[in-house]
């Protein structure tokens, strides 16, 4: 029983859906960040699997850039989270509806 590309893509889809369910369901901003990391990891896994199976290095390049983007996103986002926590004392999304939308 050998592994095919489909195995990896199905696993990536499962991980992405887990992250998506987290983004939709959670109300805590830190948990939203964790779910976003899961989604980025799933995309990375799909990129690297396709890159390895069709013998093309572009997918791995994109994975590297996605990791760089994730690192900078965490740096800026965590700074913003700390500011929000200092100002409101909570990270709940329901407290941030200043515009009453």
């Amino acid at each position: 029983m050998s592994l095919t590309l489909t195995h990896y893509l199905v696993l990536a889809v499962i991980l992405f859906v887990i992250g998506l369910a987290g983004v939709i369901r959670r109300k805590n901003l830190l948990m939203l960040f964790f779910a976003t990391e899961i989604m980025l990891n799933a995309a990375n896994l799909a990129f690297v699997a396709i890159s390895a199976y069709i013998n093309d290095l572009s997918g791995q390049m994109f994975a590297i850039f996605i990791i760089a983007i994730a690192a900078s996103e965490v740096a800026v986002g965590l700074g913003l989270l700390i500011l929000i926590y200092k100002k409101y004392g909570t990270l709940d999304l329901d407290n941030l509806n200043l515009m009453k939308g």
């Binding site: 991980l15 805590n28 899961i38 896994l45 290095l57 100002k87």
Partner: protein, 188 residues
């Protein structure tokens, strides 16, 4: 052998990420996220992408999770996360619908079978060597742009996390950049 490793890694990753998403405790969520990222690097090693696996270990489970750990020193992590989920029916409907769309999107490469490689690895080079060659020839400009973006993100993170919140940053003078207890200029 690879299949066994793949299934073990896959089951563990799915379980750990489920804990991350559905846990009430932030500390549990963060630890299981870190463990899942380590295991994902295992999948990269199985795929033969050694360099990405090492980068995943160093950047994700090293740097990003350490950043989260530092950030959580500012938050109250012992308290359980209280959330009120108002309309669970809509949430589950939306999740299911988007999952279906995602499966269709991800299955699309299976339909197109005649894919030709755009950037092939150089002859006789192992994975880190090939990635270095391709990264510094074909992808040099995106690499430099990513470096500039990381610099911007670093400066933004430092400024965001280290300044006081209740006043505008432009109220501070230049000599206040190091002094934590400095007051705005117009109050003196």
């Amino acid at each position: 052998m690879e299949a066994i490793a793949f299934y073990i890694f896959g089951a563990l990753i799915v379980g750990l990420f489920l804990v991350t998403v559905f846990s009430k405790n932030v500390l549990y969520a963060m630890s299981s996220l870190a463990a899942g990222m380590v295991l994902i690097s295992g999948l990269f090693f199985i795929l033969g992408a050694d360099f990405i696996g090492a980068v995943q270990l160093v950047v994700y489970s090293g740097a990003i999770m350490a950043l989260y750990a530092f950030g959580m020193m500012f938050f109250d992590t012992t308290r359980e996360v209280k959330e009120k989920n108002s309309s669970s029916l809509v949430v589950f409907l939306l999740s299911g619908l988007s999952a279906l769309i995602l499966v269709v999107i991800f299955a699309a490469p299976q339909i197109g079978q005649n894919i030709t490689p755009l950037v092939t690895a150089p002859e006789g080079a192992d994975n880190p060597h090939a990635i270095g060659v391709v990264l510094f020839t074909k992808y040099l400009i995106p690499f430099e742009v990513a470096a500039v973006m990381l610099l911007v993100a670093m400066i933004a993170g430092i400024i965001l996390a280290s300044k006081k919140m209740d006043r505008s940053l432009s109220e501070y003078g230049e000599d206040c950049l190091v002094d934590e207890n400095c007051e705005p200029k117009d109050q003196k």
